[in-house]
Amino acid sequence: MPDTPLIQMKGLRDGLLVTLGQAAWPVLESALMTYIEKNEAFFKGARLALEVGNQPLKVMELSTLRDTLSERGITLWAVIGDSPLTQNTAQMLGLATRLHKPAPPVETQPAHQPETAALWVHKTLRSGVRVEHNGNVVILGDVNPGAEVIASGSVIVWGRLRGVVHAGAEGDQHALVCALDLAPTQLRIAGQIALSPRREGDPHPETARLRDGQLQAEPWKP
């Protein structure tokens, strides 16, 4: 199967990686489908990862593509792209956004997060949603059990935190996690992991941080 300017394909250990070139999405989509139809037998039953460059993809576009592919027996499992919209879309649809799991944090090179723009999430994160961000994350809403937030900086939840949060995921020991109700399934800051104790009494805002290498929660006060 010859590569075309719009479509390049290579084999991965556990499937196929298709890299799309630069063009409008409808053009790319139909080029991809033509390519697949020509090699129908080859693609049947395949696991496909799609690299889309900086193409911004909306939920409708990606879910339509996934359904069309699935009608031809092809499983779309990952969409790798540079556009934040595409990454967000892929995460919402439960698709992977990178081919390999990120390497575990290296403690030896902690870098304090500079004051960069935080990721603003104005909704409740439900089970199965994963938010990853290189920087700080502010969530206006709840983090439900089964949802994951992974940030290289701090995480602030204006709501109930009941899922999994990993702040300072790249080793930042100064990262904080604050929530109006801090009751995570599991909390990680840099390389430390803690389970939240059974709460007694009414919920109150709390901040978790590392003190002498130990994860500690204290009342959240300005």
Binding site: V59, S70, M92, L93, G94, S127, G128, P145, G146
Partner: protein, 263 residues
């Protein structure tokens, strides 16, 4: 006529999706509406059993989609309620036999002929689920007052949000007021607290549900059971009526007496 298409889903299996579909369909049809139920659980069908129509299947959903029969031929008419139809799933195929766009096409064809289309989604969040929600105007999520079922419901709500479907409504099935009162079962408020979606109905735990589904006679067809009443209320709420929730307090004999005395 322009049918409203409703998908009943849950994520977790065994929470009562099929029972809910059968009972809502019967309740809507008893009010004179024309109702078609579609069993979306290809390969593991059982809506036909619960509705007692198993022995009348000639053609199924896959036959209709693949053009081996007309849609009308795959619709089994219920003898007890002439306005109630079932399109059964194929038992010898799998979920890949039908695609989301097939389901949309099929439901569009039904839209002009009936009042309600109820789709019984299979458990899980894979192909069968996506087939079932593709044509839906509204999704009802069935859950039990159990942590695992509520978590799965939350996942499904998240997936529906991702697909930009309108916000789903919740049916809490098999609530045992006695256990809730003792603090051994999640209360309605706990479930709402996590899911934050409109609660359309609460169905109490009721042994007669099992008896009824084994006999292929949906509960709402006859009688006085509490669960049957709850399903009828849900059907009326779907029709836009304002019906208060059943009072499900587990009352002791004395509490009931004092209450009577006060009236």
């Amino acid at each position: 006529m322009s049918a409203k298409i409703i998908t009943i889903s849950s994520g977790k299996g065994g929470v009562g999706k099929t029972t809910t579909v059968a009972n809502l369909a019967v309740a809507l049809a008893s009010e004179g509406k024309k109702v078609v139920c579609i069993d979306g659980d290809i390969g593991l069908r059982n809506l036909d059993v619960v509705m007692g129509l198993e022995n009348r299947i000639v053609y199924d959903l896959v036959d209709a989609v693949e053009g081996r029969c007309k849609l009308r031929q795959a619709m089994i008419r219920d003898k007890r309620l002439p306005e109630l139809f079932l399109i059964p799933a194929a038992q010898t195929r799998d979920k890949n036999a039908v695609s989301p766009s097939d389901m949309v096409r099929l439901c569009d064809e039904l839209r002009s002929e009936v009042d309600w289309v109820l789709i019984d989604s299979p458990a899980g969040i894979e192909r069968g689920f996506r087939n079932a929600i593709a044509p839906a105007d509204q999704v009802l999520i069935v859950t039990n007052p159990e942590m695992s079922a509520v978590r799965d419901a939350d996942r499904v709500v998240g997936l529906l949000e991702a697909e930009q479907k309108p916000s789903p409504s919740l049916i809490i099935n098999r609530l045992n007021p006695g256990l809730v009162k003792r603090g051994d079962m999640l209360a309605v408020e706990d479930i709402y607290d996590l899911l934050r979606i409109n609660v359309l109905g609460i169905v109490p735990e009721d042994e007669s549900v099992i008896v009824a589904s084994n006999r292929g006679m949906p509960l709402t067809l006859e009688g006085k059971s509490r669960a049957g009443q709850a399903f009828r209320n849900i059907a009326r709420r779907l029709n836009g009526e304002e019906i208060p929730f059943l009072e499900l307090d587990a009352q002791t004999f004395w509490e009931r007496l004092t209450r009577l005395g006060r009236k």
